[in-house]
Assembly symmetry: C3
Homo-oligomer: 155 residues x 3
Amino acid sequence: MGRVTDRLGELGLELPPVAPPAGSYQPAVRDGDHVWTSGQLPMVDGAMAHTGQVGEGDGLVAPADAQALARTCVVNALAAIGSVVDLDDIVQVVKLVGFVSSDPSFTGQPGVINGASDLLGEVFGDAGLHARSAVGVAVLPLDASVEVEVVVRVR
Amino acid sequence: MGRVTDRLGELGLELPPVAPPAGSYQPAVRDGDHVWTSGQLPMVDGAMAHTGQVGEGDGLVAPADAQALARTCVVNALAAIGSVVDLDDIVQVVKLVGFVSSDPSFTGQPGVINGASDLLGEVFGDAGLHARSAVGVAVLPLDASVEVEVVVRVR
Amino acid sequence: MGRVTDRLGELGLELPPVAPPAGSYQPAVRDGDHVWTSGQLPMVDGAMAHTGQVGEGDGLVAPADAQALARTCVVNALAAIGSVVDLDDIVQVVKLVGFVSSDPSFTGQPGVINGASDLLGEVFGDAGLHARSAVGVAVLPLDASVEVEVVVRVR
């Protein structure tokens, strides 16, 4: 066990097995000093706790719940990265893009994606501070509420 | 003719000329050991066979048709890359993002974007295995059904 | 003052202060020879002149106005880059992604994002010619009409 997995354990988190992708792509690719992840969905044990658009109102996923889903996406992103490098070799989280399946009236995507960004800060400290884009989209694969992709620099 | 164009020929595909972009940008940019493409639309001879949102139902582009459009986007991406480097110098397809103009009830974006990913696997083998994100968006330029951007590593 | 800020001054533009991000992320991150920006919104003095979806019709942001907003996003992106490197060290604008909050019938995202691309050309000349994707999304943070992210190469 390494420092990153120890830190995740302190936060009550465990890296899941990486699901094989359904197509000619990989969960993550090492590219010289970088690892790029595929877009990660908030799957836990092969299922999503919530699906559907995020927003305020009946039939929508509440922003606080979506923030927790974004956190799960990052756990899955770390598992994907860990499938191609040692997580302790991450020296900087460079970029994160968060897509939020959004009711057209919902404009709180940054708060949702803070669930992803904050976890990276908790795990990596200053090395977890990344550039980030958060956008609202109409619909995501498998009706996911959140999708997160990450680029990290490794030694 | 190189290996990649030969392989495309075996698949019945030919690289089209690269259309000049309509603005202060380029179809692709070489950046050290990488080439980044602009978002590619499924244009063939300057026109799109299908336009509009993808989904199940009347007036929507069927997912199988959209998958073929994603394949066309990759052909155009390879033409764009070939405008700045020799395609035989590609050593790894690093990242692909696929945007699918989606009816709000359509959640099969991964299947659509497999049209792009699978072609890269057919052409490049293991070097074509990339990280990927697939997302559903409300609308794309010129009412395209699919848009694909690619990052590759070159020697 | 450097060449880039001088050039911006000739264009009547001034770099704003960089607003602190609302979460565990940074306006821009230096990553070896690159700087990646966070998604930039068209804020001026902490407010947006226009919000809402872009399109033709009552209650929508006109495409020409949205083009000006995309230009503002680039000014903010340059400010963000300038917070981590000297802007005169930019040797190439590599990639730009422009997200346009779009009425479902609006397909002119490239024209809107030309506001961003053209400014980079005016400031950097050939070094400003980048790869680019323009997509239409349902909604953006704080109901912004446009969001732009940039990757640049630096010496």
